[in-house]
Every structure is written in structure tokens, then in C-alpha cells.
């Protein structure tokens, strides 16, 4: 869709602008930003697969990024854990200290208070995986590695903007998978089913659904209450979906907007010097500041998603009516 946006953008023939951005047309901040926060074009996936049951399972950039994150997590965490567990005297050191701290804090301060001592070992693995997956995906999204790769491709390897190079193939599209609603919706779906499974495990399948509404109230109240509770069942994961994706998208858009000022000013005054000046004086410090803020947001959002999932699971297990 980025190509489509670029076509809509008014062509501009400023010489300096041409140096800075695309060779033949003016700078469209909106299209550039959108390209950096959304998935790569669905029409041109990295690996095209035939649709199965009408669903296109082609590997897009976000799918690739997700595999990258998952693979990295699995390799690092498993390696560190193996190395630790294979010691004769299990003295945690280095990265293991951090991992152990993480496992212990998620278990003792997120899962245990909400889920309760009986099911803590059942649900801790899920919530740990959720936390590390979201956190790693968020952090990877903060690192402009493809932008760096693009620079290498453009200036070191000398490939053009539209050249058919390997690196160019993976350049389009954002890197933050958790900024994509489809990804967060999938994670929230897992939360949705985890709640049902937790309730079923603790109370049995029928009793879990009965627990949705408090028992022993006057009949007319149920007419109101049952639809509200059923709505609530879906609102919980929906809120998770929106919160995470919006937070991840928002920060990136803010950073990219501020950096776009460099090119907008360059175009406006037809002088790269003005753009650079604006960049050094304003865009760079602000972008650094927001990036620092993003580091906090990235951790908070991963924590919030995990904590809320834990709270919802706990609510299904320990019914307070």
C-alpha cells in the first residue's frame, strides 16, 4: 500500500529533496511512516504460499520477525537454562541471574497473587512465555536494524531503491510485530482461551460458565447481567489487543513524525541545511527522548499484558461473587 500512497503524493522536483528521499518524487511523511509501522505488502509477501481454506498463509515481514523473535528467545533461554541446570553446583551467574529474577518475579508477584498457590505452576509457563515474547518483540521493534541494513545495501553494496536485492526484499514494512493488531489479537485470543481453560480446570466446564454471573439474584437482574458478562468476556481480550498494538504503534509514529520534520523542512525551504539544522536542533533530541520513553513503554506494556492475563485467569479460578 505504500506504493499506492506514494503515487498519490504530489510530485515534487526539488533538487535537494531528491537527494534526501526518493529519486523522482516528493517526500510523503504519512506514507513513509505508515510503511515503517505496518506489515509488508500482503500482495508481495516474502515467501508466497498457496491459501489454505481461503486463508493466505504467506510469510510476510511480520511473520518473519515473529519467527526471528521466537527463535532467538528459544535459543538464548534454553541455552542459558541448560548451562545452568547441567552444573554440579547450581550457582546462577551472568545472564542466568536475570532469567532467574524474571522467572521468580513473574511467578511470585504476577501469577501467585492472582492465580493462587494451587495453579501457580500450571500458568506460570504461559505467562512467562507471553512476557518474554511480547517484550522481545517490542524491543526488537525499537532497534532500527533493517534501516541500518538498508543503509548498507544502498551505500555500501550500491543497490538502488527498487533493486531486486536480498536485503531490499526484507526492507519494506515495520519490524514491531506487536504493533500489528492481528498479532496482538492472536495473543489476546490465547488469553481468551486460557481464561476458559483455567475456569474449566478449577470448576468444571458447566460450572465455569455459571460462574460468569453471581448466583442467587432476582431474575430481572440476570436479563441485564448475562449480556453484560458475555460482552465482558470479549471486551477483556479486545482491550488487550488494542492497548498493546496502539501503544507500540503510537511511539513509533511519534518518533518517525519528528524525524520526518527534517525532510519536510528540507523540502519546504529547498535546502538540506535547513533540514539538518531542524534535525540537530529539534528532531534528534526529541526522538532520542521519545525512544528512551519507548524503552519504558515497551517493558510496561509487556508487563501489563502479562499481568492482566494473569488477573483474568485468576478471576476465572478464584470466583468472587
Amino acid at each position: 500500500m505504500s506504493a499506492q500512497h506514494q503515487e498519490e503524493a504530489t510530485p515534487h522536483v526539488g533538487e535537494h529533496a531528491a537527494d534526501v528521499e526518493h529519486a523522482s518524487e516528493g517526500f510523503d511523511a504519512g506514507a513513509t511512516i505508515i510503511e515503517h509501522v505496518t506489515n509488508s505488502s500482503l500482495e508481495h509477501p516474502l515467501v508466497h504460499l498457496e491459501p489454505i481454506a481461503g486463508i493466505d498463509l504467506s510469510v510476510t515481514k511480520h511473520v518473519m520477525m515473529m519467527w526471528l523473535v521466537a527463535g532467538l528467545l528459544f535459543v538464548v533461554i534454553t541455552m542459558v537454562t541448560r548451562a545452568y541446570l547441567n552444573q554440579d553446583r547450581r550457582v546462577p551467574s551472568g545472564f542466568m541471574n536475570g532469567l532467574e529474577w524474571l522467572v521468580q518475579s513473574i511467578r511470585d508477584s504476577v501469577v501467585l497473587p492472582n492465580v493462587g498457590a494451587k495453579y501457580v505452576n500450571t500458568w506460570t509457563p504461559l505467562l512467562l512465555t507471553m512476557f518474554v515474547f511480547i517484550l522481545a518483540a517490542n524491543i526488537v521493534g525499537l532497534i532500527p536494524m533493517f534501516e541500518a541494513l538498508g543503509l548498507v545495501d544502498r551505500f555500501v553494496l550500491g543497490n538502488g531503491h527498487d533493486a531486486e536485492s536480498l536485503i531490499n526484499g526484507v526492507l519494506h514494512g515495520g519490524t514491531t510485530v506487536t504493533a500489528n493488531y492481528n498479532v496482538t489479537a492472536a495473543l489476546a485470543t490465547i488469553t481468551f482461551f486460557a481464561i476458559i481453560i483455567a475456569g474449566t480446570m478449577a470448576h468444571g466446564f458447566v460450572k465455569h460458565w455459571k460462574n460468569l454471573v453471581p448466583s442467587g439474584l432476582a431474575k430481572p437482574i440476570y436479563v441485564l447481567l448475562i449480556p453484560i458478562e458475555i460482552m465482558g468476556m470479549f471486551v477483556k481480550p479486545f482491550a488487550l489487543t488494542m492497548r498493546l498494538a496502539a501503544n507500540m504503534t503510537g511511539g513509533h509514529i511519534a518518533i518517525l513524525s519528528i524525524l520526518s520534520l527534517v525532510f519536510l523542512f528540507t523540502e519546504m525551504f529547498e535546502s538540506a541545511a535547513v533540514g539538518m539544522g531542524v534535525g540537530v536542533a529539534m528532531s534528534l533530541p526529541l526522538a532520542v527522548g521519545i525512544s528512551a520513553l519507548e524503552i519504558i513503554v515497551v517493558m510496561v506494556q509487556a508487563y501489563v499484558f502479562t499481568l492482566l492475563t494473569s488477573v483474568f485467569i485468576g478471576m476465572a479460578i478464584n470466583v468472587h461473587h
Binding site: 506489515n39 511480520h62 521466537a70
Partner: protein, 168 residues
């Protein structure tokens, strides 16, 4: 749904669920569950170590008290042994002294008695000698043969005389 920010992508949705569930399965098997077990084991170990340390501390105090008591007892016993042996030595010494004294006294008495006996015998012998000498001298002087009767009478007289003259 023209907005690219909210473009539905069922493929990505399904890939996410699959990726997440596989990651969950792998991490749970290879990392989380072993780690959780290890953590619990270590907590247990630490709790036990602390309990043991507490126990050992109490044991140490007990042993120290006991050893102090033993030392005190031993010291007291040594004291009594020393004083008792001292007393025993004293009595033995006294005993020996007394025995020695008695023995010495016995020896002296014995010697005295022997001396007396010897003296008495010597006196008797001397007396007999004197009588024999006197008889010989008297017979020579008188040159007269006295009858047996006179002889005996004279001997008796002389003996009586000597008896009376004998210094007591």
C-alpha cells in the same frame, strides 16, 4: 478497512497463534518447568540449610556447656584426688614414724634386758670364781682338814658374808 493500520490479516493471526503455542511448548519443556523446579529445590535447600545451621548452633551451645561442665567436674575431681592422696601420704608417714619409733624402743628394751642378763651371769660366774678361790686360799691357810660338815658350814658362811657384802 482501507486504513493500513487496521488491515485484517488472518494468515498473520494464525501464524502468531501457532508460533506462540510452539514457543510456549518448547520453552515450558526446556526452560520454564525445569527452572521452576530448580527454583523450588533451591528454596527448599536454603530453608533446610538455615534450619540445619540453627540446629548446629544450638548443638554447639549445648556441647560447649557440656564440655565446660566436664572440665569443671574434672578439675574438682583432681582437687579431691590431690587432697586425698596428700592426706593418705600424711597418714602413711605418721604410721611409718610411729612404727619406727616402736621398733627402736623394742630394740633398746631388748638390748637392756640382754645386758642385764649378761651382767647377772657374769656376776654369778665371778661369785663362783671368788668362792673357789677363797676355798683354795682358806684350805691352804688353815692347813687343816676340816670335816665335811665344817666345810659346808664354812662355805655357807662365806657365801652369806659375800651376800651381805655384795653391793646392791
Amino acid at each position: 478497512m482501507d486504513n493500513p493500520l487496521v488491515q485484517p490479516d488472518p494468515g498473520l493471526f494464525i501464524w502468531t497463534i501457532l508460533t506462540f503455542l510452539i514457543l510456549l511448548g518448547l520453552l515450558a519443556k526446556f526452560a520454564w518447568n525445569p527452572l521452576l523446579r530448580a527454583l523450588e529445590e533451591r528454596q527448599e535447600t536454603i530453608r533446610k540449610s538455615l534450619d540445619d545451621a540453627e540446629k548446629i548452633k544450638q548443638e554447639l551451645v549445648r556441647v560447649q556447656q557440656e564440655s565446660a561442665q566436664i572440665v569443671a567436674e574434672a578439675r574438682a575431681e583432681a582437687q579431691t584426688i590431690v587432697s586425698r592422696s596428700r592426706a593418705e601420704a600424711e597418714t602413711v608417714r605418721e604410721d611409718l614414724k610411729r612404727k619406727a619409733k616402736e621398733e627402736a624402743a623394742g630394740l633398746v628394751k631388748n638390748a637392756e634386758r640382754q645386758i642385764q642378763q649378761e651382767t647377772a651371769r657374769a656376776v654369778q660366774e665371778i661369785r663362783r670364781e671368788v668362792v673357789d678361790l677363797s676355798l683354795a686360799v682358806a684350805s691352804k691357810l688353815i692347813k687343816k682338814n676340816l670335816s665335811q660338815e665344817d666345810n659346808d658350814r664354812l662355805i655357807q658362811d662365806s657365801l652369806d658374808q659375800i651376800e651381805t657384802a655384795r653391793p646392791s
